[in-house]
């Protein structure tokens, strides 16, 4: 990234943090002036501990459905505390939850300040909605929650939760697009997916608050169990998913480590595909599918004899056939893994051409147009192959790779994907491949040096896989 861009981002961060932080302080000050602090301080403290715990340990679930049960805690607390101090009680709670220790440890200042402002405002507005629904004149309206109709509590807290969702989403969207640009916002652009479960959580939270009002302190252990079990269940689910992904990543990394030429290939291709996906406006679930497809796309190659992968001269037809079978190896290996099936379809078609030529996976015939995802994977895979050193040639330059992709756009590659890739790459400012045009002699020397560095690194890390030497007769082909 250029220096100017970094400075621009820095300035945007300062402006945003200052604005949101000031807003948060103003809201808190106004609430302190308007409302008394909850008279049952212990009750407020209990809910605060639960809320802060959930905020600090928010669970990452890819579809963002149940990111954290904290909205439930907020609304239970709002109902249990009572309307006269609900807004102040909940806003202070949210303010405390905004400061996450990980941010402090990593000396991030922007995130906590912006979060503080954003969460205080969001919490105050959403609790305000709940109080307003309860106070609205009409049947069942009352000054205190105890006398209020349960209908009002249920509807009010569901509404409050959706207000929370919308306001938070708008603020985050605004902040992210101000700092990082429009591109990063795209995976976030599916508010429908988060709003419905949030409303459900809020509805439930309000009713749990009502149980406290009707049965008293004996409800608190039960409420705690509801929070805890809900959190535990999603946390263990999220951890298992993470284990699953990191296992396949680790495995592939280890297997690639044996081979200098493919080392890091999968990780880079996964990064490129994700970038293209974002550029083309994919949502979270689609991006995840793309990432998994990239992670497994070369698993089959691990079962192909090394000599073939490293061969310097042109492959015979027979060898070429063996090489291509890695597409089927991946199908055979992973056929038992149910959730990978859609990704295998993508991965096994990454050698298929846009115009229907090339090598297709099982179930596809010559002439079939590969899916958009398979086209993305093909472009990412080819770009990495061109810009990294192979057994038969050294790395080529990035402009050369662009030219090559464009030359085959429309036949081998999907032109839309190629342009999305190049645009995304230029925006990111990253550079891959050789920096300069080299003669073959120079290129080989540089490659030898790189190989030596990797050997030293392997020794330090205790890996003892032998590495093959760089091919002596390099030809640019």
């Amino acid at each position: 990234m250029s220096r100017a861009a970094v400075q621009r981002q820095h300035r945007a961060k300062i402006q945003l943090a200052a604005g949101l932080g000031a807003l948060g302080v103003a809201v808190l000050a106004a609430l302190f002036w308007l409302q008394p602090f909850p008279d049952q301080v212990w009750l407020w403290a209990l809910f605060t501990v639960a809320f802060v715990y959930f905020e600090w340990n928010a669970v990452e679930v890819n579809d963002r459905l149940f990111a954290s049960p904290s909205i439930m805690v907020l609304l239970t607390a709002a109902v249990a505390i009572g309307p006269e101090s609900a807004m102040l009680g909940v806003a202070t709670m949210a303010a405390l939850g905004a400061v996450v220790p990980a941010d402090i440890q990593q000396r991030r200042w922007f995130q906590p300040i912006a979060n503080f402002g954003q969460m205080t405002v969001t919490a105050a507005l959403s609790t305000g909605t709940l109080v307003a629904v309860l106070m609205l004149p009409g049947p069942g309206s009352a000054a205190g929650f105890e006398q209020a109709d349960l209908w009002r509590i249920a509807v009010g807290s569901a509404l409050a939760a959706s207000v929370y969702g919308v306001v938070q989403y708008r603020l985050v969207l605004f902040a992210v697009s101000r700092v990082y640009g429009r591109l990063e916002v795209r995976p976030w652009s599916h508010i429908g997916a988060i709003l419905l479960p949030m409303t459900g959580m809020g509805f439930l939270g309000g009713l749990l608050g009502a149980t406290y009002l009707v049965i008293g302190t004996a409800a608190l252990p039960l409420i705690a169990v509801v929070f805890f079990v809900g959190y535990m269940a999603f946390e263990s689910y999220a951890r298992l998913r993470e284990a699953q992904e990191s296992t396949i990543r680790g495995f592939i990394k280890a297997l690639e480590a044996k081979d200098l030429y493919t080392r890091g290939h999968t990780e880079r291709v996964a990064r490129f595909t994700e970038m293209i996906g974002k550029q083309m406006g994919f949502d979270g679930t689609q991006l995840e599918r793309l990432r998994w497809a990239a992670l497994i796309h070369d698993v089959g190659k691990l079962a192909v004899p090394r000599e073939l992968i490293r061969k310097r001269s042109r492959l015979t037809d027979e060898e070429h056939e063996t090489m291509q079978t890695h597409v089927h190896f991946v199908e055979e290996l992973l056929e038992e893994v149910d959730f990978l099936q859609p990704m295998i379809e993508i991965a096994s078609n990454h050698h298929a051409h846009y115009d229907g030529n090339g090598y297709h996976g099982t179930g596809h015939e010559h002439g079939d147009m590969p899916s958009k995802e398979a086209c993305i994977l093909a472009v990412a895979d080819t770009f990495d192959a061109i810009t990294s050193t192979r057994s038969y040639r050294v790395a080529l330059t990035q402009p050369y790779a662009y030219a090559e992709l464009r030359r085959h756009a429309g036949s081998q590659f999907d032109p839309e994907v190629v342009e999305a890739f190049i645009e995304g790459m230029e925006n990111s400012g990253h550079r891959y491949g050789s920096k300069v045009e080299l003669t073959d002699e120079e290129a080989r020397d540089i490659a030898e040096e790189g190989l030596e560095a990797i050997r030293v690194a392997d020794q330090i890390h205790g890996r003892d896989f032998p590495l093959a030497p760089i091919a002596k007769d390099v030809d640019n082909g």
Binding site: F66, F203, L204, T217
Partner: protein, 406 residues
């Protein structure tokens, strides 16, 4: 053999419950107590036998205990509670028979669930009677009775299902007991739903339904997802472990068979369920180091079994969640004891089991020995190469499978 005994046992339990239930029903009707509420809860308990939640241990808990908890709070006397439970359990037996794939699963579930449910009912409702008139608020009396009854339920259920499981599958009761204890989160969720309903129904009316059901529904969703992810994680490890076999670098099927045998032995020995899972992964991947044999340089230089174990461990160690598994793979060839030396306490049981299972599978499937000859080989190697305790377990597992005479 064990199966028919189990079936007889489930019929005895059912008979006892029917007798108990008939007596309680007669009493409830004669004393003019609320028979309609009793009938409602009986139907709820019977119907909820149809639904079950997957638990972290890979088993299921059926939901019948949820309405049972609510009934214990809401029905006015211990007798009415017993009447509702027994009628519900008789109906539940029919429901389980109808939905279950195999009769023996239905039988064993039924025995454990019904004995513990009746125990819960007795403890919780007599607790409520005993506490009434104390200075505690009513809600706390209800909560305390449910907590005490629930603890009894949980321990009894684990004990009975461990015992029943030993009958059914010849597994170590320690293993099954630990397995049943793993289910506490799910049990807690179901109990909380029941207790919330029982405590709020008189005060909140129909709003008690969402209060009781939604928390449970949210966690159910998570448990189901957890369960399916647990299964696909296993599938993925299985797939990755097959890379050497697909590449013709290792004999086909060896790792799967070894894992299968090793898991049976571990359960028979009574390892902790989490350890059994790690053992399964380690056994599946014990030969993954062979993938390195595509490397011409290695083929030229030569290699030993220890090298393959070490390379395999290095590959597995790249996955942050499989550190332990990688260690088991690394030491899989360590002998049980070297001649003239004391026992090596550092060789984990898991590695010793894999060593035996792999050696036996090699003897039978690669050297084409008969199962008895294979076992003979292992026994000859006991005391130095193989742990005698593990060899003995192999013999018992093979006998259970009917491969050799018992």
């Amino acid at each position: 053999m064990a199966e028919s005994r189990l079936h007889r046992l489930s019929l005895i339990v059912l008979g006892a419950i029917t007798v108990l239930g008939a007596a309680a029903v007669v009493f409830v009707v004669r004393s003019g107590e609320v028979w309609s509420a009793t009938l409602f809860w009986a139907i709820a308990i019977a119907g909820m036998h149809y639904l079950s939640v997957p638990t972290p241990s890979g088993k299921h808990i059926n939901l019948a205990i949820g309405p049972a908890v609510a009934a214990a709070i809401l029905l006015p006397s211990t007798l009415a509670v017993m009447a509702a439970y027994s009628v519900g359990l008789v109906g539940g037996w029919a429901v389980l028979r109808w939905r279950s794939n195999t009769d023996r699963d239905a039988d064993s579930d039924y025995v454990a669930e019904s004995i513990s449910m009746v125990a819960f009912g007795v403890v919780a409702s007599s607790g409520l009677t005993g506490l009434s008139g104390s200075s505690l608020p009513l809600a706390w009396e209800q909560l305390l009775s449910v907590i005490v009854g629930g603890s009894v339920w949980f321990v009894l259920r684990a004990l009975v299902s461990a015992w029943v499981g030993t009958e059914r599958d010849d597994l170590a009761s320690r293993y099954l007991w630990l397995l049943a204890l793993e289910d506490w989160t799910v049990a807690l969720a179901i109990f909380t739903g029941g207790a919330l309903f029982g405590m709020t129904w008189p005060l909140m009316g129909i709003w008690a339904f969402p209060v009781a059901i939604l928390p449970y529904a949210f966690s159910h969703l998570a448990f189901v997802r957890y369960d399916s992810t647990r299964i696909t994680y296993g599938q993925m490890i299985r797939a990755l472990a097959q890379i050497p076999e697909v590449a013709d670098l290792a004999p086909r099927g060896h790792s799967t068979r070894t894992a299968d045998l090793a898991v049976s032995m571990a359960r028979e020995i009574g390892l902790h369920p989490n350890e059994v899972t790690e053992l399964e992964y380690a056994a599946l991947m014990h030969d993954v180091g062979r993938i390195t044999l595509t490397e011409p340089a290695i083929l030229k230089a030569g290699y030993t079994d220890e090298d393959i174990a070490r390379w395999g461990a290095q590959i597995i160690a790249e996955a942050p969640y499989l550190q332990e598994v990688s260690e088991y793979v690394r030491v899989q060839h360590s002998p049980f004891r070297r001649p003239g030396e004391a026992l090596d306490p550092d060789v984990p049981m898991i590695s010793k089991i894999i060593k035996v299972a792999s050696a036996y599978d090699q003897a039978v499937h690669e050297m084409h020995l008969s199962p008895l000859e294979g076992l003979e080989r292992i026994h000859r190697g006991s005391a130095y190469d193989f742990d005698p305790e593990v060899s003995a377990s192999l013999r018992r597992v093979l006998a259970q499978r009917g491969v050799i005479a018992a």
